[in-house]
Symmetry: C2
DNA sequence: TTGCAAAGATAGAGCGCTCTACTTTAGGGT
DNA sequence: ACCCTAAAGTAGAGCGCTCTATCTTTGCAA
């Protein structure tokens, strides 16, 4: 920076002002400085800048799993809003290792980011509480609604209702749910399903599963061997639904003529041609945008916690159809 | 830091040593310092540390598309090697915006990262050349092999040969290739296919396509309406292969009895039950690991460029089968 | 007891920038 | 010509740490 100042024949402070687009410099000296900087290949050192200014203009995003498109799409939403607000986004992940999340969060905290967005952290609320005292924190997950940090989550009950309503409209009555065990959103979806079915006076059929394809396959096998097999299956997520589809195909059953199948999430898998799965869409970028907006408010001083719930919607593809007369 | 030093009754320099696990401090003072730090909730400020030490222990990874699992899996490989070497990984992406890549790279450069891994940058080689003069750079892509930076790429020709050999072994002779246009790896795959077929004295059938599902669908439609339709189709990538599968299914053709289909990449899509696509596997984490290793060598002073090519392999699933007697 | 090396601890400069407070210059109004 | 104000530019302290050089303590052989 001194070199640039010397070359342009001005003071170091002026160079600093030019680099930050201050309106307080004349056009002529701005030009001189920029020319000198270009010639010397000068680029401000962000570490020094942030140290001196005491603010980092940076928010950290901790993704617990980089593989999962769910999180990366969410991160995109965060970045969109952050960039608009003039903030840099720093991504970090625990690489699914033991303690990786903690390491990742602490690294971001050591960088003194202005705020933290945590994507579905697998940490007890008390620990997040501790982090929240060091920087504003927004968690995208179904967390206990503490006062120290904000949350954004999906309205699971609404999603489950959409599914039941859709199937009912198509005339189905024997509807089964392959649940997703204790995985994120699983218990909420199951109980919303049971509630909805009961409300309509129908028997809720539930088999245990998880978020994997295999579980969907086995659950479908189980269901179809019942004395009165269901005419429609609501799987806990897309992957599980695809497992069910695979079983049905193997068993020579047609979808949707013999059985309707419905998933949850609307991942890229649901949309591909040979699958074409009806599913509930979760607007992942929207989660990120919402989270970042809450963070901005916190950074501007809001102190009471806010907890946002985002409405999913139904995407009807060709894995569901009207109940066939028997 | 001063507070910690005061509380522990030692000098600031000693606190610094403790924080960096220096062996030069006695067990007793280490304990005192750690206790004081814990009590005050002290956490070293990385910005200040990096500024003072002049080294960042950080490498930047620029992913041009965070959505694409290809890149995130690669990043995982980078992180694995980097962490083992005691380096932090900072992720950045251009969010697929115009000029986003440049912004992302420059941001990393402003952070004075010790090195840069670029995942399939869409920038002219001269620009990378310029960056390479500011920090060690490794590009994961089929780039011109310049002297200023290292590259890691896939051996496309080998992959195409694996495919042709596999189909030949199954007895196929009329083999078609749906190409991937000018997309990354596309031209290499096409010409390797043509070479291999010609070498075996077979006519290479090629139709134009791209990396999308739609293109695969249309290309398959075209191919199957030929007077002598192919008995096997090698699609430029998995998505295109899935498009082809979808068409074949619609047209009532069985896979692999009537037509064998083979993809390229081995994305998660290929493995799902209803698809079960034979494809060429690209070891994406391996790309990342290799890239990071090259970067480490550069950081240790190697100056001549190295260009690594990684061998893909074939994953046989159920979309390919022996040629049926007619 | 003395001397000396190694281990342990410290003072203070400096990393590259920003920020506050200040000085200089230019442009009106009377 | 004078004063006053606003704009443009600058000096120098300081952000939180590390690093070099230096000092102090300890242990042990002579």
């Amino acid at each position: 920076m001194d070199d640039v100042a010397a070359k342009a024949g001005v003071s170091r402070a002026l160079v600093s002002l030019v680099m930050r687009d201050s309106p307080r410099v004349s056009a002529s000296s701005r030009e001189k400085v920029l020319a000198a900087a270009a010639e010397l290949g000068y680029r401000p050192n962000l570490w020094a800048r942030n140290l001196a200014s005491g603010q980092t203009h940076t928010v950290g995003v901790m993704l617990n799993d980089l593989h999962n498109p769910y999180f990366t799409e969410m991160a995109e939403g965060v970045a969109e809003v952050a960039n608009k607000a003039g903030l840099q986004v720093l991504l970090n992940t625990g690489w699914q290792r033991d303690g990786g999340e903690v390491t990742a969060i602490e690294a971001l905290l050591s960088l003194r980011t202005d705020g933290l967005v945590l994507a579905a952290p697998r940490l007890p609320a008390e620990i997040l509480d501790g982090y929240a005292s060091q920087a504003p924190v927004v968690s995208v997950s179904n967390y206990d609604r503490l006062d120290s940090f904000d949350t954004v989550c999906n309205d699971e009950a609404h999603g489950a209702n959409l599914i039941v309503d859709h199937l009912l409209e198509l005339g189905h009555q024997r509807i089964a749910h392959i649940d997703a065990g204790s995985a994120a959103g699983g218990p909420e979806r199951r109980s919303a399903f049971i509630d909805a079915m009961t409300r309509y006076g129908l028997a809720p059929i539930v088999v245990e599963g998880d978020f994997k394809e295999d579980a969907g396959y086995q659950a479908a096998e189980q269901l179809m061997s019942l004395r009165e097999p269901p005419t429609a299956i609501f799987a806990g997520n897309d992957l599980s639904a695809i497992g069910a589809l695979t079983y049905l195909q193997t068993a020579g059953l047609r979808v949707p003529e013999d059985v309707s199948v419905i998933g949850y999430d609307d991942t890229v898998l649901a949309g591909i041609g040979t699958v074409s799965l009806t599913t509930v869409h979760q607007p992942r970028p929207q989660f990120g945008r919402q989270a970042m907006e809450l963070l901005l408010e916190r950074m501007k001083g809001r102190t009471e916690a806010r907890h946002e719930q985002i409405e999913p919607w139904l995407v009807v593809r060709s894995s569901t159809g009207p109940l066939q007369p028997t």
